[in-house]
Structures are given as structure tokens and as C-alpha cells.
Symmetry: C2
Subunit: 250 residues, 2 copies
DNA sequence: TTTGTCAAATTGTTCGTACAATATGACACC
DNA sequence: GGTGTCATATTGTACGAACAATTTGACAAA
């Protein structure tokens, strides 16, 4: 039975296309696990046998499995084998924006642009983005709404190369979507998650009472050359949003 | 000059000992980066040359570099090379407890055990730990204090195998330290971070006013066999504690 | 000047192979 | 019955090799 699942899963790998073989295997395995086709606690076939059956070398199979171990979906023990982790399997926090998160669920995200201006970078912004103090940066502030309910206030600063992003763009799309559309790939992000009490203005924007708790997040994002792309300081309604993280010890 | 740094760094690898070669290289490289010996933005030698100089194969070198890329310390681009990331390099959140976090800083952590009891697992606990509903679990509640100031209230549930942890242990050591001492290795943890408003009792414990914001964290931790080790529901004083996460897109 | 092409440099993917380390279960031995 | 030993299964580490993909810079061509 397990054999059938595997066979069907890995039936037709594209050996000539641009997508790496290990990645194709990884994706299908991940889907099978998240869909429950391979149940929690189930043991996978050993690496060598898998390789033989799929006509792939052991390193290729290992790479696919290792990536899923790093994601916290699989667990392996020398001498024993590889298993799907017990416990509810959830996708961890990935490098996506709130807009993406909401769009992935059933919510309909909309955005109100609260302010839009080109400013000179202050100490904090210059430090986080790695740009010169006083250099021009785009400063935007948006209210994110899901199904008509305000969820978060997002404040972002972007370096000089993005000054041409228009107000219209920001009303239509999420910031990360705009960046992707311009060919920018975010590779590393450093986040700091905390909480504080809201003041009157903040509570007003989120349609709650002054003095209620806010979930806060600061993020600095960098592309694959290590250049600062975006610095954000956001606050969320904690009854509507939270952060999930999966940590894996290496 | 760069050459000298490298030479001295990788001078004597232990080729017979139990520590993998890639790990020895990784550790030394990481230290050199964190210490600033290799400055932000500096370019590393290419993989092949590094391998030749250290008498290691390219896969071994690659493994070491890849691990540091995954940690967000290095960045590499095909056709270009490998660089130390720009921006402040900070260690990300690791699989440690608040106790460890505080002990690593200059703070002196102490603990007050608020309650200690063996209970039957309710729905939530049974689900998160993957144990039978109604099976015995150890339920503890602790107040964590740093330098005399209360920082967090920690509530944990542990499965049957840990019922023999004593009240005395919990006063002396952090929970994760106790677990490590028993040979338990935590491999995967799923955390959910949020916020809420405190009630009178909670505010009293943390020496703040009722109605101030709390930072909350739920965590389920599993060992390398995927067995549930610990489920915790914690709240923190947000002016004294926050979570830092480094995300790396693969 | 601009554009296209090509070579060089570097990381990315994939294969094959060998041996080491660890957990399990079977079996012999005391 | 208990205990140690050994074979087996499986993942972990390490090597070597080849070719692909991408970026840069140099150079030629329009």
C-alpha cells in the first residue's frame, strides 16, 4: 500500500526541465504529507531503495528528505529510518507578507493607504536598511483589512531604488507582490516580535478600544546580495492574528 | 590578508576524531564571522580553491557553507561567489528556553514554583503532546524572574515519563536543562506567538497593572523520534522580552 | 556608441562509490 | 534467565567527477 502511494507520487519526473529533481521529489513528498496521504508517524522507505525505485541517486533522494527534515516535516534516526513527525503538521512561518497569509486563507484582503511620502532616512531606518543617513527612502503606511475588519497597520520604509512604486500599486497589491513583480527576491529577513498597549490613535485605526494589547513586529529584509530591501514596523490586532514558527534543531 | 585569516582558521582539523570535518569548518567559519574577523560583505574564496587548500573535497566545503547560508550568515550567488551578509549579524531564535536566553545575557535568572501537580491530560494537552486523553501528565506553573524583576509566567505539561521530575529540580534549573540532563534531545518545536490583555491575577504576578498588554507563546516540543516532550503556554512582560527570528528563503 | 557574442569564473545539480556509526533483533553462551 | 556478541538494516560522512546555469567582463561587430 505504501508502495502504491510512492509509485503514484513519483510517477513522472521531468528530467530535462529546469526544476531540479530533488526539488520535484521534495514537493511531492511534502504535499503527500500535508494532505495526509502519508500519515503522521509512518515510516518512509529507506533512501537506497527509494533511489532505486525512482532511478535517482542516493544523494538526490537525501537532499529532498533533508530539506523536509529541516522544515520539521520528517524526522530521521540512524539505523532506524525516516518517519513523518507526530503531532499536527502545520506549515511554519515563511518569508511572506501578511497580504499573502490572508490571501492563502479564505479572507479577502484589502488595503487602505494611510500615507505615502519620500523622506530622508533617519537613524533607525538607515541602520536597518544599510543606507546612508539622510538618503531618500519611500515611507508608506497602510491599513490592512480582511473581510471588512481591520487587522493590522503596516509601516514600511524602502530604499532609493523603489521610489517609483506608485500609490496605485500599493492599493492593488501586497508590497511583497510588487517586489516580486520587479524581480526582487527576498532571501533573509530578521524579525522581532513583541507586544505593547495601544494608544487612542492606534486603537481607532484598528476599531478597538484604547489600552487593548497590540502584537508588534519589526522586520528588516535583504535580497540575495545582502542588500536591504525593506524595513517595516507593524502592529496587529492580536485577536485576529498571530505568528507561527517551527524550529528545528540541527 | 584574507588568505592568512583562512590559513590560521583552518590550520589543524581533527581528521580522526568523532567531530565531522564539515562541522569543524562550519564552526570556525561561524566564529570568524561573528567575531568580525571576516567583515560583513567580504567575499569568501571559491569552493574549489578552499577545498584544495584545506585538503577537503568540494562536497565537504559546500556542506559547511550551506549550513551557514541556512543560518543567514552567508549569501551566495551562482557565477559570483559567497559573501558574508550585510547588516547586523545576529543569532536567530534557537531551540532554547527563556532560562537559557536569560542566562546567556548578563541577567541572573531565578524561578518560583507556583504550582506542581500530576493531572489527567485534557483535550488540548492530549492533542499537542500526542498522548491519550486522560493519561497522567505533570503540570507545572512557574514565575521566571530576572535580576529580581518578574519577566514571565510559564505553564507546562509533560508526559508520563517525566512524572518523577521533582519540585526541587524545578527550583534549581530551567526545564530544558533538566530535560537535557536526562538525555532528552528536543528536535522540533512548534511555536505560536501572540498577544492579549492581562487580567488582575496575571498583572499581579508580573507586577504590572491590570489591562496592560501581554506577549504570549504556546509551544509543543518533540524529540527526534517525533514523540511529544513538552507543551507550554506562557506569557511575558512585553517591555522586558521579545522574540527574534531570522528567516531564510531556500 | 551600442549591441551581441564569447570566454572565464563560480556556484548548482547529479551521479557513483565507499566506509563509519548506530539501533534492532537473533543467537549463543554462561 | 540474563548477558554479551554478531549480523543486518539504515542513515551519516566523505571522496571524486562531470556537466549545467548564471554572472561578469572583454572584445568584436554594427
Amino acid at each position: 500500500m505504501k508502495t502504491n502511494v510512492m509509485e503514484s507520487l513519483f510517477a513522472d519526473l521531468d528530467r530535462n526541465g529546469p526544476i531540479p529533481l530533488y526539488y520535484q521529489v521534495e514537493q511531492r513528498l511534502e504535499k503527500a504529507i500535508l494532505d495526509g496521504q502519508i500519515p503522521a508517524g509512518a515510516r518512509l522507505e529507506n533512501e537506497v531503495a527509494l533511489g532505486e525505485r525512482l532511478n535517482l541517486s542516493r544523494p538526490t533522494i537525501r537532499r529532498a528528505i533533508q530539506d523536509l527534515v529541516d522544515k520539521g516535516l520528517l524526522v530521521r534516526r540512524r539505523g532506524i529510518g525516516t518517519q513523518v513527525v507526530h503531532g499536527r503538521v502545520t506549515r511554519g512561518v515563511e518569508l511572506t507578507s501578511l497580504f499573502d497569509d490572508l490571501a492563502k486563507g479564505e479572507k479577502v484582503p484589502t488595503t487602505v493607504l494611510l500615507s505615502y511620502a519620500v523622506e530622508k532616512a533617519n537613524d533607525t531606518v538607515a541602520d536597518r536598511l544599510g543606507v546612508q543617513l539622510g538618503s531618500p527612502v519611500l515611507h508608506i503606511k497602510r491599513l490592512r483589512i480582511a473581510d471588512g475588519v481591520p487587522v493590522a497597520v503596516l509601516e514600511n520604509w524602502l530604499p532609493e531604488q523603489f521610489l517609483d512604486i506608485t500609490e496605485h500599486d500599493l492599493g492593488e497589491l501586497g508590497l511583497y507582490e510588487i517586489l516580486r513583480g520587479r524581480g526582487v527576491t527576498i532571501r533573509v529577513a530578521k524579525q522581532k516580535i513583541g507586544a505593547r498597549t495601544s494608544n487612542t490613535a492606534e486603537a481607532g485605526l484598528l476599531d478597538t478600544d484604547r489600552g487593548t494589547a497590540l502584537l508588534t513586529m519589526e522586520r528588516a529584509a535583504f535580497d540575495n546580495a545582502g542588500v536591504g530591501i525593506e524595513y517595516g514596523s507593524h502592529y496587529y490586532r492580536p485577536d485576529l492574528y498571530s505568528f507561527e514558527v517551527t524550529l528545528v534543531e540541527k
